[in-house]
């Protein structure tokens, strides 16, 4: 069976003006000095397109922290890719927004932390909310697709109706309501972020009603926390099956968190071609197919749909990256997740936030 990558997540920098407590970047970040250059990214986008990739997601950190974002957009389009910019929007002046649109940007995904300024700024660790509101109105004046990305968790789910109303007011094409996924910085803060079961049920009802009401005007995507699911998510659509991520220094990963799995070595685009990494490297082959699976996954009829769930979550909770994702109700380790949920239900955590750090303050690492 051959797999063709369709999307490339390009983490072009780990630098970011925000310090969100649920950032999906790894705890150990890349410094500016190790970042791929404009011409290196150009070459990589061409290699990706030749492999079958159709969509490019420019993300970070904050992709606008690089001075060459417009050139990266242009390079993506020149390679024939659909270009999506995932941004906090901070510091995006009108002239630069226009330059990005002219360069061929197809879609902007602007993140919001809350509907209320004080709470939003607390999560972001900086004053950002007001600037986002101002930018959203300017984005809408350009002919590009506009998605509002709203990360939700225990602290803000009570304001979900207000957040949906904000999306309507800003006339976005799509609202993405994404529950925090508990990796990296979010895992550090899970005691304060994981919603209760009641909140999750309420979310489903609110989203269903909003979808019905806004049909044909605004699309709503909703990601629920997998801790409350009966079966795991098909993480990244299966390891190395349709997606790849390239970090700021050019290391190619099957997912955001893959680095936490011991014994894997990841190759980078400076020393290997993207095709070789996708097709031949041991890290991308490690969890393809079902050879690696243990029971209950191996004989499970769902294995072609969820691929045993997330390898990183299996690693984090069981210490074994080949184990069944512990969120699965069939996992012998499901009790570990239930214990976390029970903890959340029983306590009001007053732990301090662990804020994401900026890589300019950490030493370069490889």
């Amino acid at each position: 069976m051959t797999f063709v990558p369709r999307a490339l997540i390009a983490e072009v920098t780990h630098r970011c003006p925000l310090r969100c407590v649920y950032c999906s970047n790894p705890l150990e970040m890349r410094s500016r000095s190790g970042e791929l250059s404009t011409t290196e990214w150009q070459r990589v986008f061409g290699e990706a397109a030749a492999l079958g990739v159709l969509q490019l997601h420019l993300t970070g950190g904050e992709p606008l922290a690089r001075p060459d974002t417009e050139q990266l957009v242009k390079a993506g389009r020149a390679a024939g890719l659909y270009v999506n910019l995932i941004t906090s929007g901070i510091g995006l002046a009108e002239a630069r927004l226009e330059a990005l649109v002219t360069a061929g940007l197809d879609h902007v995904q602007l993140s919001f932390q809350d509907a209320e300024q004080a709470q939003a700024d607390e999560i972001a660790g900086t004053r950002a909310h007001a600037a986002k509101l101002e930018l959203a109105q300017r984005i809408r004046k350009h002919r590009i697709a506009f998605t509002m990305n709203l990360v939700v968790h225990r602290q803000n789910l009570g304001r979900l109706p207000q957040m949906i109303a904000l999306a309507e007011e800003l006339q976005v094409d799509k609202l993405e309501i994404a529950n925090v996924q508990y990796y990296g910085w979010a895992f550090e803060n899970r005691g304060r972020l994981l919603p209760t079961r009641e909140q999750v049920q309420e979310t489903i009802a609110i989203v269903d009603a909003a979808r019905e009401r806004l049909k044909g005007r605004m699309r709503i995507d909703c990601v629920l926390p997998d801790y409350y699911a009966r079966f795991p998510k098909p993480c990244m659509g299966g390891w190395g099956q349709g997606l790849m991520l390239i970090d700021p220094a050019g290391v190619v990963l099957p997912c955001h968190a893959a680095r936490i799995i011991p014994g894997l070595s990841f190759d980078d685009v400076r020393s290997k071609t993207l095709r070789w990494i996708w097709e031949e490297s041991s890290s991308f082959q490690r969890f393809r197919g079902d050879e690696w699976m243990q029971e209950p996954c191996r004989s499970c009829e769902r294995k072609t749909r969820d691929f045993g769930g997330c390898r990183c979550q299996a690693m984090m909770y069981t210490g074994d990256p080949d184990a069944t994702d512990p969120v699965c109700s069939l996992s012998p380790k499901r009790g570990l997740i239930d214990a976390v949920i029970a903890d959340v239900a029983a306590t009001t955590s007053d732990a301090k936030w662990v804020y994401r750090i900026n890589p300019s303050n950490v030493p370069a690492s490889r």
């Binding site: 024939g80 879609h107 002919r143």
Partner: protein, 93 residues
């Protein structure tokens, strides 16, 4: 939904465009998703460039697929455009 008037102009929504994939053939690229186009799909999408009315699109397809029943062609074009509209991939200007 009721059928839009034949004078309306179907146009791909912002951030939606067609491309040619080397192994999938014509594909409609949408924000964070894609739609493989088959049969008359690519031709219909091509005509939704903002310069043809819905009536023009239907007439063109009826003449290009003259073996097919014109009423059926009309129904299929309308159903296809309605599905794109529902996905927020197409507007009727």
């Amino acid at each position: 939904m009721t059928d839009p008037a034949p004078t309306r102009i179907p146009r791909l929504a912002a951030g939606c465009r067609m491309t040619q994939s080397t192994d999938l053939g014509p594909v409609l690229l949408l924000p964070e998703s894609m739609l493989r186009l088959t049969g008359p799909g690519p031709r219909i999408v091509e005509l939704c460039d903002g310069s043809h009315t819905l009536g023009d699109v239907i007439t063109s397809l009826q003449s290009e697929f003259s073996d097919a029943d014109p009423a059926m062609v009309q129904r299929e074009v309308l159903a296809f455009l309605a599905s794109l509209n529902e996905r927020r991939a197409l507007d009727f200007v």
